[in-house]
Symmetry: C2
Subunit: 345 residues, 2 copies
């Protein structure tokens, strides 16, 4: 493996309209990058599929610049350090190299604040499925932004997704009562097994009626990563002084043209509620606080996860789209190769 001479990259060929298609990307081969002084060379094992990945393909939408045509699709990932020119990072370590994108290898500065490395025996799947981005988004989104208190009534959309499932457990572990929203019965049952008192299937049930029935007094916190119609319905089910935490809008990222906004936003006046935009990234200095708590809860059996793992670059497009169609449950990943283990390679 250290002897591989080829770096495969899945690069953007043209900007997608709506869902990403296999026509929008192209698999290209290039040389494996050199490992410079102070750098490590990472052989990626897992690619992380996140809704934000799709948003980065559009111009002028996200909080990072758009991916350029010809660049690898940007995403999180995790792999093994197969060559190290950094004094503190051994070969064999697991490494999440910032946003390495859809490619086999990256060479990154070991001192970069966005490059995180872990012991060779780390639980890489828990790291990817819970810690890497869901933990901070769910934890700070609910506590700092959502001002969650024990006893609050919390509504969580996309509750069967990776962030939603962590949010359900964070809210429950902190003493709130949780109602989830998901897109399949299978997800709903899983969300309920994670501690939600109920989970509404938004495709088969009357969401507005069910939410009214479940919480006639409305919700104190609404954690939203869906947007669109679901957000609009939730805006009518707020308790006085409610906090709506906007972490994303899965239903809108693929819209071509201008998607509709939440026309019930005026209910913010009636309930004197607020709607707050939130990026986990802004809590980067406090990430360890969320991470420590997740590992502790894991040890106590209070933090479950599912990983939905597909194989190879050829599954990237479908796996990303599964986030928007609702086909996946839990954290969507693409595994590029079998874990080569701690080396030597």
């Amino acid at each position: 493996m250290a002897g591989e001479r080829v770096n495969r990259q899945l690069v953007l060929r043209r900007r997608p309209r709506g869902m990403l298609t296999t026509e929008d990307v192209e698999l290209v081969e290039g040389p494996v990058p050199e490992c410079g002084d102070g750098q490590v060379l990472v052989r990626q094992v897992y690619l992380q599929m996140d809704a934000a990945v799709r948003s980065w393909l559009d111009e002028g939408h996200g909080y990072l610049p758009a991916v350029e045509i010809g660049e690898p699709v940007r995403s999180g990932g995790m792999g093994r350090v197969i060559e190290s020119r950094h004094p503190d990072i051994p070969v064999g370590a697991w490494c999440a190299a910032g946003l390495p994108g859809w490619q086999d290898h990256v060479a990154v500065d070991g001192d970069s604040p966005i490059v995180n490395h872990f012991p060779a025996d780390w639980d890489a799947l828990f790291q990817l499925a819970v810690i890497s981005s869901p933990a901070a988004t769910a934890y700070f989104g609910l506590t700092d932004v959502g001002e969650l208190s024990a006893g609050d009534s919390v509504l969580i959309s996309a509750a069967g997704g990776s962030t939603g499932a962590v949010a359900v457990q964070v809210a429950r572990n902190l003493g709130a009562s949780v109602v989830g929203i998901a897109g399949t019965d299978e997800k709903c049952r899983w969300v309920e097994s994670l501690g939600a008192e109920a989970c509404v299937n938004r495709r088969t049930e009357d969401l507005a009626a069910r939410l009214r029935e479940l919480r006639p007094q409305g919700f104190d916190v609404y954690f939203d990563s869906v947007g669109g119609e679901v957000l609009d319905i939730a805006l009518r089910r707020l308790a006085p002084g409610a906090r709506v935490v906007i972490v994303g809008a899965i239903s809108m990222y693929n819209a071509s043209g201008r998607p509709p906004g939440p026309s019930n936003y005026l209910n913010l006046i009636n309930t004197q509620a607020k709607m707050v935009g939130f990026q986990g990234l802004s809590y980067v200095d406090r990430y360890p606080e969320a991470w420590d708590l997740m590992w502790r809860w894991k040890a106590e059996g209070k933090m479950e996860y599912k990983a939905d793992v597909a194989r190879g670059f050829e599954s990237c497009v479908d796996q990303l789209n599964s986030l928007f169609t609702g086909a996946n449950t839990g954290k969507a990943l693409v595994q590029l190769i079998d874990d080569p283990g701690p080396g030597p390679y």
Copy 2:
């Protein structure tokens, strides 16, 4: 006058669709109400035209129950106490009797917390145009909800309206730099005379381009009572950590069917901004704080106003609609009779 035997009321005949029309209301006559023990009988001189008046005519939209068919249209007002059975309220006093509605007389409990009385020589127009609701909405909306600091860049829509014009001056007096948005050149010039550095005519100028030009870094606070397209444009001009204070949505109150929501709400994520619903009413305990400041600023020549006064019940419908068409500048009022003065009657 004390001898009038008839109380005219403009009552709701049917629920309006879109703008209120003269077909939707009916002038009826009934007996002047009895002044009970502890009550005062008020002869209304001015009716207050507020956007909320229109919203109270629809079912299930507002923070108060809808006006029933056959009831007077609900609104604020101010008149003279022409009969008193309350020990502390003399005949001749000015009185704002809660939400007395479109009628000549009301009998109200002098001890009610929503009944406010003033000396016979009070500046009733300043009270109506600045104090009665704009003061609290503008002041607490900007300071408490908008977290305004000196040096902030503030954007105010409907800046030529009664609340907007007070908000412009509150922001300026507190050391912020202000850009206004209004619907006519005449209003824009007035808003600039109140201390806004610029005021954009949203009907004749390219609002998005002008806002970008005026404040390339975006706005720290956006005080919105318009909604619709203007809100959507403003949501793309937010500075990081901005506060969007939603006090109303003049552009949407008359919409039949479901008006579009602000599709750019997702920019709240990019800027980590928040959008907060606000009712002046919730600050009722702190009203005097805002009122004292407004009177002081008035004395110092730092709080101007305009009153747009029409005469008689027959002008109520047009005067209310002027809030939505943008035909009025400053506080819209209907004067029912000449001020009868301090009595005796």
